[in-house]
C-alpha cells in the first residue's frame, strides 16, 4: 500500500515546554480523505503544520507525497497545499487578484494564472464577488476563496485544518463538495476536524488524536465497533412501571439495562438486533406495560470520541 502521509514517532516541544506531539504515528493511504479527529489542543494543528513544513519537529520522521519533510521540504511544498484554520488570503486584494497572485507564486504564467483564477472563481461561486476585497467577504466566502487558492495547482496532498469551523450549513456543504471533487481527481486530503459528523461524512479512515498522540485508528465503522454492540432503547409511557419493564428486559436480554428515570428510558446492549427489539416490545405488551418509543442505536462517533478522549480529561 502506498501512503500519502507517513509520520513515525514525531515529537514536537514548544519553547514554553509544552509537548504538542508525543510519539505521533500516522499512515494515511494515498487517495481519499483521511480524518484527524480530536478535541481542541490535542495536537492536530501542530501535526498538520509539521507535515506542511511550517514547523520544525524535534524527533521522528515524516514523509509527505513521497518526499521527506526534514530533508526535502522544498519538494514537499511543491506537492502540497494547505488551508489553515484562519483564511490565508490577502485581505486587501480582490478575490481574483488573490488567486492570480498565488498562481503566479506557484509559477504559472500570467495568462495561465488568470485563466485558472477565473475557473476557480466559477467553481466556488465567487464570480460576482471577484472584484471585491477579501476583507469584505463573508466568512464562508473567504473560506471558499482560501480553498480555491489551495487548488490552483492540483496538489498531491491537501491539508485542511478545520475547514468548516464557523461556517453556515450551506457554505459547509460547498466546502465538502469541493473536497469531494478534489479527491475524485486523485488528491489525498488530510482533514482535521472536531466535528464528528464531518469526519463521518468525508473520511474513509480516521485517526483519533488526544494529548499529542494517536489513540485510535480505523474506518469510522471500525471505530464505532470498538465501543461495543448496538443498543436497544425502550421508553415506557408510565414511569411507575419502569422497574417492571427493567426486569422484563433483563430476563430477555440477559443483561441489566441502564435506567434513566427522568426520560423513562431503558438502555441495553443487544446482539440479535431486530429479533431482540420485537421480542422485547412483545413481552412488555404482554406484561401490560405501554411502550412509548423503541429503537436500536448504533454507537455514534461522538460516543467513540468521548470514550477515547475522556480518560485523560
Amino acid at each position: 500500500m502506498t501512503y500519502a502521509v507517513v509520520a513515525e514517532g514525531l515529537l514536537k516541544r514548544y519553547k514554553g515546554g509544552v509537548t504538542a506531539l508525543d510519539d505521533f504515528d500516522l499512515h494515511a493511504p494515498a487517495g481519499g480523505v483521511y480524518g484527524l479527529l480530536g478535541p481542541n489542543g490535542a495536537g492536530k494543528t501542530t501535526a498538520v503544520r509539521v507535515l506542511a513544513t511550517l514547523l520544525r519537529f524535534d524527533a521522528g520522521r515524516a514523509e509527505v507525497a513521497g518526499a521527506d519533510v526534514r530533508t526535502q521540504p522544498g519538494l514537499v511544498r511543491d506537492r502540497i497545499a494547505m488551508t489553515g484554520q484562519y483564511a490565508a488570503v490577502d485581505e486587501i486584494l480582490s478575490g481574483r487578484q488573490n488567486l492570480v497572485l498565488f498562481g503566479r507564486l506557484q509559477h504559472l504564467s500570467a495568462r495561465d494564472a488568470k485563466r485558472r483564477a477565473d475557473e476557480l472563481l466559477e467553481q466556488f461561486g465567487l464570480v460576482d464577488a471577484k472584484g471585491r476585497s477579501a476583507k469584505d467577504y463573508s466568512g464562508g466566502m473567504r473560506r471558499r476563496l482560501d480553498l480555491a487558492a489551495s487548488m490552483i495547482r492540483r496538489p498531491r496532498v491537501l491539508f485542511l485544518d478545520e475547514p468548516t469551523t464557523g461556517l453556515d450549513p450551506r457554505s459547509r456543504n460547498q466546502v465538502w463538495d469541493a473536497v469531494r471533487a478534489l479527491v475524485s481527481d486523485g488528491t489525498t486530503v488530510l482533514l482535521t476536524t472536531q466535528y464528528l459528523d464531518e469526519a463521518d461524512q468525508l473520511a474513509a479512515r480516521i485517526a483519533v488524536v488526544d494529548a499529542g498522540t494517536v489513540v485510535a485508528e480505523g474506518t469510522p465503522e471500525q471505530l464505532k465497533a470498538t465501543i461495543g454492540a448496538d443498543r436497544l432503547e425502550i421508553v415506557v409511557e408510565d414511569a411507575g412501571r419502569l422497574g417492571d419493564a427493567a426486569s422484563v428486559v433483563a430476563r430477555l436480554t440477559g443483561a441489566a439495562p441502564g435506567v434513566d428515570t427522568e426520560l423513562r428510558r431503558l438502555r441495553v446492549p443487544v446482539t440479535d438486533r431486530v429479533g431482540s427489539l420485537i421480542a422485547t416490545v412483545r413481552a412488555l405488551q404482554d406484561a401490560g406495560i405501554t411502550v412509548a418509543d423503541a429503537g436500536l442505536h448504533r454507537p455514534t462517533l461522538d460516543e467513540v470520541f468521548l470514550q477515547l478522549t475522556g480518560a485523560t480529561r
Binding site: 486584494l93 504559472l108 487548488m151 490552483i152
Partner: protein
C-alpha cells in the same frame, strides 16, 4: 479539474533558483503596489504628516528661525522633511509585514514552493517605489512653498539616490521590527517612540550646535543628520556649518550609515522570518 500542474512543475525545476527568487520577489512587489492602489488611505497618511511638518515648521515656527550661514528657513527645512519621510516609512513597512505575519497569508506563502526571500525583497522594492512617489509629492509641495534645487539635475539625482538608499536601509529595519512586533496593532507603539527622537535629535529642524554638548554630538552622528546634510549640499540648500568630524564628512556617512544598517538588519530580519511559527 486542472491539467496545468504536471507540465508547470517541470518548467519550474528547469528555471534557476536565482531566477525564481527574482521572479517571486517581483510578483510580491506587485502585490504590495496593488495594496497602495486598492487602499490608498494608508499612503495618504504618510504624505500628510510631512506636508504638515512643512506647513507647521515652515510657517508657524519658521518665521522666527535663523538659519546659521544665511538663507530661508524653508529652503533649509525641506531636505530635512524628505529624510524624515523616509524615516517614517519604517512604520508602513513594519505594519505591512506585521499584518502579513499575523494573518494566515504568510503560512500560505511558506507552504508554497516559492522563494523564501520573495516576501522581503518584494517589500523592499515596493518601498522604493513608494518612496519615489512620496518624494515626488514632497518635491511638488516644496516647490509650492518656495524651496528649490540649485545645483543641476545631476546633483538632484545624487540626492535622490541617497534618499532611496536610506529608505532601503530603513525597509530592512522596518521588516525586522514588523517581525518582532507581537501584532500589527503594536507596531506603532514600537516604531514611533523610536522614529520620533531620531528625527527630533538631528539637524532636521535646528543645528546640533545649538543643543547641549552630548545631545549635539548624538544629533551630529545620527544617520538622519548625515543624509540630511548631504542632500542639503547636493540641492544647494542652506546647510549647517560645524567642525565635528561627522558634520564635515556627511556625504561619506550618508552612504556608510545605510550600508551599516542593511548589514545589521537584513540578516536579523531574514533570521526572524525563518523562525516564524516555530
Amino acid at each position: 479539474m486542472t491539467t496545468l500542474a504536471p507540465t508547470r512543475t517541470h518548467e519550474v525545476s528547469a528555471t534557476s533558483h536565482k531566477g525564481r527568487a527574482v521572479a517571486d520577489g517581483w510578483v510580491m512587489t506587485g502585490r504590495y503596489l496593488r495594496h497602495v492602489v486598492r487602499a490608498p488611505e494608508e499612503i495618504v497618511i504618510y504624505f500628510s504628516l510631512p506636508i504638515m511638518f512643512v506647513l507647521v515648521f515652515g510657517y508657524v515656527f519658521g518665521s522666527g528661525m535663523q538659519v546659521p550661514g544665511g538663507g530661508g528657513y524653508r529652503e533649509f527645512l525641506l531636505p530635512g522633511v524628505f529624510v524624515m519621510t523616509m524615516l517614517y516609512g519604517i512604520g508602513a513597512t513594519a505594519t505591512g509585514i506585521a499584518t502579513d505575519a499575523g494573518r494566515g497569508v504568510v503560512d500560505r506563502f511558506r507552504s508554497m514552493p516559492m522563494a523564501r526571500s520573495a516576501l522581503m525583497t518584494g517589500r523592499a522594492v515596493a518601498d522604493q517605489a513608494r518612496a519615489l512617489l512620496e518624494i515626488t509629492v514632497l518635491v511638488i509641495c516644496g516647490l509650492l512653498v518656495g524651496w528649490d534645487w540649485h545645483r543641476g539635475i545631476g546633483n538632484f539625482m545624487a540626492a535622490l539616490g541617497l534618499l532611496l538608499l536610506l529608505r532601503l536601509a530603513l525597509s530592512w529595519v522596518g521588516m525586522y521590527l514588523g517581525l518582532v512586533a507581537p501584532n500589527a496593532d503594536t507596531v506603532a507603539t514600537i516604531v514611533f517612540p523610536l522614529a520620533f527622537p531620531l528625527s527630533a535629535v538631528s539637524n532636521t529642524f535646528v543645528s546640533p550646535e545649538l543643543m547641549p554638548g552630548w545631545l549635539g554630538t548624538v544629533a551630529a552622528w545620527n544617520p538622519i543628520s548625515a543624509t540630511t546634510a548631504a542632500i542639503r549640499e547636493l540641492f544647494g540648500n542652506p546647510g549647517l556649518t560645524g567642525d565635528s568630524w561627522a558634520t564635515q564628512h556627511s556625504m561619506l556617512l550618508a552612504v556608510v550609515w545605510p550600508l551599516v544598517l542593511i548589514t545589521i538588519f537584513a540578516p536579523l530580519a531574514v533570521h526572524r522570518y525563518r523562525r516564524l511559527g516555530r
